[in-house]
Assembly symmetry: C2
Homo-oligomer: 506 residues x 2
């Protein structure tokens, strides 16, 4: 009987993770001779030596918990056997930085993008209609449908028309301390590179969020207000919005892709529906590709505060400056306080799916999650909704909620997102292509038309981490250049935007 | 020169409100002889006597503020001249009830509705697809489109197919103390009377909000999960959802409207984009119609905590029992604490549109808002998302945000909503008809295809309050019976749902 396929990431680890697609069976052995004492599901942990109650359980070279009872070698370490450690103490955390050495540049890398007046580069050519309040969403949806049906055929170089629908803008505490988060998010969302600097702003007229606040200082965007006296009923409103859209469509339609250096590309990375393979296959492959983008001079944003919180000591070490280190800690502390106000903490992150996928707790999930950020120095930290201002590896603080993270990263300036999933989600964004990477081949096979890349081949040994990493990097450039279409766009699967509003509604 | 049209609601009032559509001009006089010292815009207040600094400014017989400076008779009382009083002190508030005498019954009132297995009665016959997490929203939207195009033509008695899209379900603190609010809202939303007890639940498989929690104890609803092993890719998922929808469409299609007593009707009332006429025309007309519905044995829900907070002493007096009085105060206190956690208070409610419309502050707005509840005893108080359990006039505690209030009232069981607006909003709901009532004839004329009833005729003297109130009541029954279609449905203007989630996201 051959050894059960299992992975040990770090020499100090006291556990292995079973990666055999059918799991491990009692009596089978691992490569190191550990005999399984019971059946162990795919993605779950096996003790590599006898652990006494209270002994550290080590994975990724980090303590992910303490044994809740004695665990003999070869036993399945189920969630109940892992006592979660406290979160790293932010106040007492050493600020010692050990930034990795500069990486070898990867010169001459390019993609075909749409260069914008502000210097950013888009990977799609989309007319966006930003709304200052949800009241106008019905009219915006009607206009989008009409423009798609009646006008887009005349503008073949415009990829899409998208309404930036959201529930903010009125019925909210617009002067509350945290209101700056959704407001700057909406303002920066309108400036996403895929919108070509042509975003149209649609307002009502009596809302709390004045449409002017969504307008960039020197942008050409003008504002249409439905309560304008000039609009004599519904059709007049619709015609008013279409009249404002027309010159924008004409200008967007005149644009063409041009060869741009990868240093102009901004990619967001995110995971959702994670399992224990996430940290072994898809997330490291994303980290590998992220390093390539950074080496080529480009930018990668990783996010998801609650999935970073328990690995923050590892990220602080990677900070490129003392300011970045402090900013990392500041964003963690802000979120700790936000959760505490609502009677929760970072342990609220893990899902039933994570747990049945083999992730015992948020510590284990976080260690597998931050791998997406690769190994480059972290050069900047963005508070929720802030716009990118530095090239390189960036931490954009956002909630981990897939839709909120996606929305916030769009505001921070990503042109494309890479999304890893183990359990599977049909997630997609209308504003930017989402490259979906499966952590396991079972999902990639079953959802073959919903997944763009199978990183499960790393676990099965069919491909190396570097091979899948390079494959992902090339896929990113193909999608960014319009040469390939992602599954979510092919199927038209797009989730609505979901703003992060930490403030109260009224 | 004839007197300027202006309204004084209560003998104790120290102000009149100008209702002449062009406003009042300096030098013109009111009916009581007060000469205007300056131009006064439509909906704004005029001092009926000399007020010293600190004197009470009285409207609706209640103090809406104190004079911030000396205000001579005939002066325009702009927002800046009104010092806002503190909110009524909940702890010290007398619990003295003075419930109005029982109202004269209005027997024999009926409408044509769809009777449901649970005894509730719908006014539409809609197939709803409830989702346990936003991840599946793209697939749900695709299914809705396919069902509308391919299947609905075969089911002519089914009015619509609607996905109950929302941003809750995962990436949220599902065990936080306040999580019960969005969870029970979603559960009760699926039970809305317009869905005929046939709501289909669509889940992902790894989400925090287990789809079972959306299922009513003994409902026949089954659950489709996209991560189900049986679904071999996208088309299989879509076919799986459609297969579950088909028997539901067949059962819904077999239903017919039947004559039901008005005592089976549940109507929600709400206002949005209010102006100073709201409290003089549309809201009193809604209150009049609400009294008629209650007299006919039916139920009316009013809501919007921050627009009730400053008039709570008037509502406590109307409580039908000590329990109801305590529940009213409890909901106000809960919301006070919720707002305070976010660094806000009830004054965050008023909008720029309210203020330019003549509403000086939340006190004045609240006094004009609660008028929608008519004069019946208040028989029950629902916490956010709770389902109706008593017939009569009910306070359903919800935020005042139009979309959140609409969503929460749908969960609480309304089959139809009446919505008053002064500034104008194209608001609509896919799940229930929304009867839009304009507070002024200018809006009703300009937006003639977006408004269902012009209550501005009360201000111009073209119709009495009772006439418009009866007209609205008959319109409600016509819409509830499917004899008339509201403007929002005719134009297909529907806002997305917006859950009230007072808890944190992760």
């Amino acid at each position: 009987m051959s050894a059960v396929a299992a992975v040990v990431v770090h020499p100090a680890d006291t556990v292995a993770v079973v990666v055999a697609s059918v799991g491990g069976r009692a009596g089978q052995t691992l490569a190191d001779g550990t005999a399984l004492r019971e059946n162990v599901p795919l993605g779950h942990k096996v003790a590599l030596r006898d652990l006494a109650e209270g002994d550290p359980i080590v994975r990724y070279g980090e303590v992910i918990g303490r044994a809740a009872a004695a665990i003999p070698r070869g036993a399945w370490i189920s969630e109940a056997l892992v006592r979660m450690p406290p979160a790293p103490d932010l106040a007492a955390m050493p600020r010692t930085r050990r930034p990795p050495p500069p990486m070898e540049p990867l010169p001459g890398q390019t993609f075909e993008g749409f260069r914008n007046p502000d210097g950013s580069v888009g990977v799609k050519n989309v007319l966006a209609i930003s709304i200052s309040v949800q009241c106008v969403a019905g009219v915006a949806a009607h206009v989008v449908e009409r423009v798609k049906r009646e006008l887009l055929p005349r503008f073949p170089h415009v990829d899409d028309v998208v309404a930036l629908d959201h529930a903010y803008g009125c019925g909210v505490a617009i002067d509350a301390p945290d209101a700056q988060v959704p407001i700057r998010t909406l303002r920066n969302l309108a400036r996403n590179p895929n919108f070509g600097g042509e975003t149209l702003i649609l307002g009502l007229g009596c809302e709390k969020l004045l449409p002017e606040r969504l307008k960039d200082g020197d942008a050409t965007a003008d504002i249409v207000r439905l309560q304008d006296d000039a609009f004599d009923g519904f059709e007049a409103m619709v015609q008013g919005v279409i009249a404002a859209a027309l010159p924008r469509l004409e200008r967007l339609n005149a644009r063409r892709r041009e060869t741009c250096p990868v240093s102009d590309l901004v990619v967001g990375v995110q995971c959702g529906g994670s399992d224990a393979l996430s940290g072994l296959t898809a997330n490291p492959a994303v980290g590998f590709a992220a390093d390539l983008i950074v080496r080529a001079g480009g930018s990668v944003m990783f996010s998801e505060v609650t999935e970073v919180r328990d690995a923050i000591h590892l990220l602080v070490e990677r900070a490129a400056s003392d300011e970045v280190a402090e900013a990392l800690i500041r964003e963690m502390a802000w979120y700790d306080a936000y959760l505490a106000r609502g009677g929760a903490d970072r342990s609220a992150n893990t899902t039933p799916g994570n747990k049945s996928g083999g992730l015992a707790n948020i510590v284990e999930k976080a260690l597998g999650s931050v791998v997406k950020s690769g190994s480059a120095p972290i050069v900047d930290v963005l508070a929720p909704g802030e716009r990118i201002r530095t090239k390189g590896m960036i931490f954009a603080a956002t909630p981990a909620s897939d839709f909120i993270c996606g929305t916030q990263q769009l505001a921070s300036g990503i042109a494309l997102q890479v999304f890893t999933t183990g359990r599977g989600t049909p997630y997609g964004l209308a504003a930017a292509p989402v490259v979906k990477v499966a952590t396991n081949s079972t999902l990639a096979t079953r959802w073959r038309d919903l997944v763009d890349l199978d990183a499960g081949r790393i676990a099965t040994g069919e491909a190396s981490l570097a091979e899948v990493g390079w494959e992902l990097y090339r896929l990113i450039l193909d999608v960014a250049s319009g040469r390939k279409t992602v599954a979510a766009d092919r199927l038209g699967l797009h989730n609505g935007l979901a703003l992060f509003n930490p403030g109260p509604v009224t």
